[in-house]
């Protein structure tokens, strides 16, 4: 049944399209379904974009909360893009793609949050650069 000297014909290179596929690729999905997803994605994105622009230009929201609101809208829209345009789902056919995405988000988070934390901490404790340079006679 198994051993080195056996080439399992049904299985060699036969990963089923239903069980695993690349992001954005839905080989077995009908075109109608695909276009429907694209339409939904466009619709949601337009709403979120317009909302962001409106929020930035008017006084609808308590002013200090606007940056946070913008960030939330941005993250939501990125999610819309990922789900509706890139077809990232939590289904078992997408596990590898989700894991890779999670890894990427971890790295991005570490870099951005880490850099902001480290650099602001340095700014707090260290003499500003131009003063430092003025000390170099």
């Amino acid at each position: 049944m198994s051993g080195l000297e056996y080439d399992p014909a049904p299985f060699a290179g036969a990963l089923d399209d239903r069980e695993d596929h690349a992001p954005g690729d839905e080989p077995l999905e009908s075109a109608g379904h695909y276009i429907y997803n694209s339409n939904l994605g466009l619709g949601f994105s337009i709403i979120l974009t317009v909302a962001a622009f409106v929020m930035a230009s008017t006084q609808l929201i308590y002013a200090p909360a606007i940056p946070v609101a913008l960030l939330v809208l941005a993250i939501a829209q990125m999610g819309v893009h990922l789900v509706y345009f890139l077809h990232i789902t939590t289904g078992p056919d997408n596990t590898n793609n989700v894991l890779a995405l999670a890894f990427g988000i971890l790295v991005v988070g570490l870099i951005v949050v880490g850099s902001i934390w480290i650099m602001s901490s340095m700014n707090h404790y260290m003499m500003p650069m131009d003063e430092l340079m003025r000390q170099q006679v």
């Binding site: 000297e5 650099m119 901490s121 340095m122 650069m129 340079m133």
Partner: protein
């Protein structure tokens, strides 16, 4: 017309670079001439330069890495001898400007053009064989990766005799590396050599993550993979995660230098400390990129040479992935002293200490693998035992450095220098030498001479400790790193011992060269007749030595860990091989010159950008783009290996295996 380039770029007045450059040019010209005279170009072009075979590419990477080691080691000899001579008033033989270039080149070459190519070479050669597949996920991209790395190395060597190299250390900190304080081309050579090879490495990372996750032979679930492949996965994940940081940071520095931007300048809103932050966010994971496959090599060697399966496979996997993730969270320990304050320092100090736990788990597992096994002290095992001793001590000094207040005392002292050499040499270099000895027969069909290998090990081991123990002591006594001359004459004793250590290591290197030459001369006697010279446990030992270009005549179907060991034991018990399989034609990717062409244009572009010859840079980019489009237009991607060929190769393999079986049966009968 030629940017900053002029005849004065050649170091007419500096004898050492001039001589070295001349020798290099002569050596290269001589080699090219020999190849032309012997009419080897068609063979080299078709079988090696345009090859997309992971084994060939792996061997070329290792060759490149060995060249890098030689050049980096030459720099090391220069540094140790300079410091031994220039003590308490002596001037040595290297001016400060030259010495600064030497230590910068030493670090840059050793990391980017010695250690990385060697590690990636092993990843290339071994991984598809262990996974039971015929090649990596993107074979042509693999070739591109190699040639881009070679292009970077070429640029660095060109800096020897056209222009100068950076004087800023292996990581060019601004503002020193900015255009105001480093107006020459040295830093630009560094930037473009590293950028170009960095792109190649990123492609390698993508290639191997995809290969390990999506291309394994049937039945080989992730938890049945050899541990080396897990470490390749972890290392490649780190590459994909952090090499973009290197690209971005060096690009920012280039923009500052060439266009006067203000990312890292000292004035007008630039922030030099951001460079340190970003570059070490790359730099720390980088050393784990190097050391994780090294740990993988040791896992293979320990289990094979103890005759036992690796102890604690799942905890090894967990430790590997733990190190992979936590390595992304420790980078600030390289600049504790830069002033981020106690909270930040404490957090990163804790994460740095925690990551040692993963390595500790691995060390215990290796020791327990040996326990109860029949340990054979072959050369790879000697390197592995030397590693355990050396790396544990280096790791301990690392944990010492992880404590911020302690680091404040010894940061940038010789203690630090000794520590990182301890872990890199004890960890990575020892692993590479072990792996070289271990997989050499698989690559070339004959073993390396054992006696000279043992001698090489002892001289290297002794030489290492003789070189770096004095540096630990000097560091604790207050000696800082990168000193062209040393003002404290009490330190001359230690420095001389260290220089002696380098001499001992050099003997070790000579032993290795002799070992190679003797092995080649005695290759008939040292021939690997069966493909399994070490009584191996993983799938690469199921192939003949050297492995055929398609690796396996028939894709293996795996049903447990240590795929090959199970098959072998069954064959020995039943005293016969399993039935001859049904052969089928095999599809293999065609060779492609795109890697070589892309790298050629990359070299031209890099050289042009360094010297600010803008039209040439544009042409280079255009050429690279055109070459890529031409490649994308090709109609033929694969060729078929006919059934007869596959059958012929595999039947020869089966004959050799049957002979081995008979020999084992005879030994068993006579025992």
């Amino acid at each position: 017309m030629f940017g900053k380039l002029s005849w004065s770029a050649i170091p007419w007045h500096e004898p050492i670079p001039l001589m070295t450059g001349l020798v290099l040019i002569l050596a290269i010209a001589g080699t090219l001439g020999l190849i032309t005279y012997k009419k080897w170009w068609p063979y080299l072009w078709h079988e090696w330069i345009t090859s997309v075979d992971h084994k060939r590419i792996g061997i070329m990477y290792v060759l490149l890495g060995v060249l890098g080691l030689v050049r980096g080691f030459a720099d090391a000899i220069m540094m140790r001898s300079q410091q031994a001579m220039a003590v308490g008033g002596g001037e040595g033989y290297l001016t400060p400007e030259h010495y600064n270039q030497v230590f910068s080149a030493h670090g840059t070459i050793m990391i980017f053009f010695a250690a990385m190519p060697l590690v990636i070479g092993f990843m290339n050669f071994v991984t598809p064989l262990q996974l039971g597949v015929r090649d990596v996920a993107f074979p042509t991209m693999n070739s591109v990766s190699f040639w881009l790395t070679a292009s970077g190395f070429l640029l660095i060597n060109v800096s020897l005799f056209v222009g100068e190299f950076a004087r800023t250390g292996w990581l060019p900190y601004p503002p020193l590396s900015g255009s105001e304080y480093s107006p020459g081309v040295g830093v630009d050579y560094y930037l473009w050599a590293v950028q170009i090879s960095g792109i190649g490495t990123l492609m390698t990372g993508i290639n191997f993550v995809t290969t390990v996750l999506k291309m394994r032979c049937p039945g080989m679930s992730l938890l049945r993979m050899p541990i080396f492949c897990w470490t390749v996965l972890a290392s490649s994940l780190i590459i994909v995660a952090v090499f973009p940081i290197l690209t971005a940071t060096l690009a920012m520095l280039s923009l500052d230098r060439v266009f006067g931007w203000h990312y890292f300048t000292a004035d007008l809103g630039g922030n030099p400390m951001m460079f340190m932050n970003l570059i070490w966010a790359w730099g720390h994971p980088e050393v784990y990129i190097l050391v994780l496959p090294a740990f993988g090599i040791f896992s293979e060697v320990f289990s094979t040479f103890s005759g036992k399966p690796l102890f604690g496979y799942r905890s090894m996997v967990a430790a590997t992935m733990f190190i992979c993730i936590v390595s992304l969270m420790t980078w600030l320990h390289h600049f504790f002293t830069m002033g981020s304050g106690p909270a930040v320092n404490a957090a990163f100090g804790i994460s740095t200490s925690i990551i040692a736990v993963g390595t500790g788990v691995k060390i215990y597992n290796w020791i327990f693998t040996m326990y109860g096994g029949r340990v054979r002290f072959g050369v790879p095992m000697l390197w592995s035992l030397g590693f355990v001793f050396t790396f544990v001590i280096g790791g301990m000094t690392g944990v010492l450095l992880a404590v911020p207040p302690a680091d404040f005392i010894v940061h940038n002292s010789m203690f630090l220098v000794a520590h990182f050499h301890n872990v890199i040499i004890g960890g990575v270099v020892f692993a590479l030498f072990a792996g070289l000895h271990y997989w050499f027969p698989k690559a070339f069909g004959f073993r390396l001479h054992e006696g000279w290998g043992v001698a090489a090990f002892w001289f290297h081991f002794l030489g290492f400790w003789l070189t770096f123990t004095p540096l630990y002591i000097l560091g604790l006594q207050g000696m800082t790193r990168r000193l062209q001359h040393v003002n404290i004459s009490e330190w001359s004793g230690m420095l001389s011992v260290s220089a002696l250590g380098v001499a001992v290591t050099t003997i070790g290197v000579v032993c290795q060269i002799v070992m190679l030459l003797v092995s080649i001369l005695q290759r008939e006697k040292l021939k690997d007749l069966t493909g399994d010279p070490w009584d191996g446990r993983s799938l690469e030992w199921a192939t003949p030595s050297p492995a055929p270009f398609f690796n396996f005549a028939v894709t293996p179907n795996v049903e447990g860990e240590e795929a090959y060991w199970g098959i072998k034991t069954r064959a020995i018990e039943s005293q016969q091989l399993s039935a001859e399989p049904k052969y089928a034609p095999i599809e293999m990717p065609v060779h492609s010159p795109v890697g070589f062409y892309t790298a050629a244009f990359a070299t031209v572009t890099g050289f042009a950008l360094i010297w600010q010859i803008w039209w040439l840079a544009g042409l280079g980019l255009l050429g690279a783009w055109a070459g890529f489009v031409v490649f994308a237009w090709r109609d033929v991607h694969e060729f078929h290996v006919p059934v007869e060929e596959v059958a012929r190769v595999d039947r020869a393999r089966r004959e050799a295996r049957e002979a081995l079986l008979e020999r084992i049966a005879a030994e068993g009968a006579s025992a």
